[in-house]
Symmetry: C2
Subunit: 244 residues, 2 copies
């Protein structure tokens, strides 16, 4: 936690070799030889060779669960879950170069993709567990929780991957915010839908819409046309006429 330079040395040596010769062409002996440590020490710090590729996901997962546990009962659950997903993005954005390298690795090596899936799955389960708690009273609570968690993770990953694919250029948060806004628009329900008119402090970087005037939007839609399409129409209606 405080000072393990050995861990960092192993990660650095591993990535250097992975980029040079590829993941599967690099043995653990190669890594420890380059790092100048004993082979046994590698497995002291990483339970498996693949885990050296995701060095800080364990910490990030702990942060996320802590964040979810902290947001006990107050706000709208979907927003909280989206915030939790944003935390993961921040971890990626901390080291863009490293994240891009890792992305290229996981893209090529099937074994690493499986490892990444495991990690992502744990994030998704954490989100779903939180939502299950919040939706305990709803009729299809666990189903909704699982679906929303999956949607949040998928949206987050979609935006994250497109950012990684562009070599970490540009702002990652805007794309992720947009993706999560779409999810929030689909599933999101305000914390107290009836007793507040002001969005309150920090409703997230989502909706711009500061025009507090009484402009009226009328949406006409057939039944059976669900949210999605409706949301799109409303969005376009809101944005195509920026004035008046």
């Amino acid at each position: 936690m405080t000072k393990p330079p050995m861990r960092d040395a192993l990660v650095a040596a591993a990535f250097q070799l992975f980029l040079e010769r590829g993941y599967e062409q690099t043995t653990v002996d190669d890594i420890v030889a380059l790092a100048g440590v004993g082979r046994r020490s590698f497995f002291r710090y990483f339970p498996a060779k693949e885990d050296v590729v995701f060095p800080d996901h364990e910490r990030c997962l702990a942060d996320m669960t802590a964040h979810l546990a902290a947001s006990a009962e107050d706000a709208d659950p979907v927003g909280r879950v989206c915030d939790a997903a944003r935390m993961v993005l921040l971890m990626y954005a901390e080291n863009p170069a490293f994240s891009v390298q890792r992305y290229r690795l996981t893209k090529k090596v099937p074994g690493l993709r499986a490892s990444e899936l495991s990690v992502v799955w744990r994030y998704q389960r954490a989100l779903a567990a939180y939502l299950r708690g919040r939706f305990a009273d709803r009729p299809d609570g666990t189903l909704q929780a699982d679906v929303i968690a999956a949607a949040v993770v998928a949206a987050h990953n979609n935006a994250l991957r497109s950012w990684l694919r562009s070599d970490g250029q540009g702002d990652a948060t805007t794309a992720v915010d947009h993706a999560l806004d779409l999810v929030k628009a689909t599933f999101g329900t305000p914390p107290t839908p009836l007793d507040r008119d002001e969005p309150g402090p920090g409703p997230g970087p989502g909706s711009e819409s500061e025009s507090a005037s009484e402009d009226v939007v009328i949406v006409v839609s057939r039944r059976g046309v669900p949210m999605w399409r409706v949301v799109q129409e409303i969005e376009s209606a809101l944005t195509t006429r920026p004035q008046n």
Copy 2:
């Protein structure tokens, strides 16, 4: 394809030993000894030890992609994807006892859970790829495709797992249908929402098409009201009057 009894013998021997001593306590040598075949033959039929646990997923995935490719341009994409998910359920329901055993195994052994994740991920990618093709013209097409695919898989798995948890008792399809209906109600859009009033031929075995009529929902809202607020009102308007 036609008759490889060796494959089946290996699967049978493997599951017998897995249930007796557990997965990790069973070596490949044990399996091939019980099956009475050579060790090398095991890896001819299964690329890895874990793959013996999911013997027919490869075929099922092929069937699913074929089904998606067949439904070229006609029906609503979300319904098609839900049908594809139902195909997976059918594979599980073919052998309830086997599926339940496998579920218990994958629940206990982390390595097997990782393998299952890989398999599920491939299903999800197949669905997403199909949807991406269908949503190619939409603005956030790939994002919507990824999110919907994730939601479909999550809903399917939620229902499937609850069925497996109950030892395969009862009807699996009803629970899955209900879960997928929820997804369809959230994302599903009739094929052409604006230029057609009839849902068209074959809206899929899913929705019982509660109202093909031209029910109209009119939403009046102030500008500046955040999206979720609007969505919630529409939702309540859509659900509070189930008939007429």
